[in-house]
Subunit: 189 residues, 2 copies
């Protein structure tokens, strides 16, 4: 049995406090909820915008796990993972609301879910709801970043600080998907 | 296999729009998130207040399901459920942040979880995390209420409109807990 351990609420609050100290600014309540929630991100965004969130897939490709990824996903080195880069965006705008990357161990996917995850533009929260999957989510890090080129393009900005988190969606005690979500410090304020 | 169907995001947004029309006021983003989230409520409250949330148990008693409850929980009439009424509150204040009622079919609980759910004051979100339970949450209604006596006492108010939702926490395709959460329209604004 592998051990999977997410951050406690206290550890997440400490990460947020360290970020606030560095930027000498308090994060907004919405930013804090987006960084710490164990609920569906799509649902939260749709409730905030009042509209369906669209997924624009930028990259979708099978990769073979290197040492680091194998360790993160608890799979063997060389095993196949599906790598996806998407923008979660409002139907009204070209600009991403959230930039998200995900890694899915392909061996752990059953047929129908595999199809939805690897060949459609459906948000992950909706895929889980559609298939009535019972899961839990564990946040593993909350960080502040400098925007690099992919992020500058996604958010149509020149340079800005970004809020980022990694979390795992766990199903049947195994990581079904590892997700990294990023948004600009100026969003959701 | 029983059918369990929660509200779609669209249906939830419609319920919120109807409430906003009745009160001629927009709900805040935080209120909308609290009414619709499929994540842990305790976690959200702790992130918002920056402090641990305390549970004050007001009622904890076994009851036998009548027709309505049996139907809601998908159990037999007369089967035992654990009924709990709690205040979720900030350690600094006497006033509840959230008033919550829950109904748990006792037959569906395994030993350790049963003990935590029926004899401790641990928040449900923490019990699920502690036991690494994989679940999904389905919101079944979002409503506006007049405060009655139990709510007036919980929030230390004379008279006020309340926001309320019911949702089910589902585990192994069965309702593990049915929850009703209520808070004043003036909270989380």
């Amino acid at each position: 049995m592998q051990r999977l351990k997410g951050m406690s609420v206290n550890e997440m609050l400490n990460s947020i406090a360290r970020i606030e100290e560095r930027i000498r600014l308090n994060l907004s309540d919405i930013q804090k909820i987006l960084l710490t929630t164990d609920g569906s991100m799509t649902r939260t965004l749709e409730v905030l915008t009042g509209r369906p969130v669209m997924i624009i897939t930028k990259v979708r490709t099978p990769i073979n796990a290197d040492n680091d990824l194998a360790n993160e996903l608890k799979i063997k080195v060389g095993e196949e993972a599906n790598y996806r880069v998407v923008y979660l965006k409002d139907s009204d705008s070209d600009r991403a609301l959230i930039f998200a990357r995900s890694w899915t161990p392909v061996m752990r996917l059953s047929g129908v879910i595999k199809k939805d995850l690897t060949s459609t533009d459906m948000p992950i929260g909706k895929i889980l709801t559609k298939h009535k999957l019972e899961t839990r989510r564990e946040v593993t890090s909350i960080e502040l970043l400098e925007a690099e080129v992919m992020l500058k393009r996604a958010f149509k900005i020149d340079s800005e600080l970004m809020l980022s988190r990694f979390y795992n969606i766990i199903h049947e005690s195994k990581i079904l998907i590892r997700i990294n979500e990023v948004f600009p410090l100026s969003s959701f304020r």
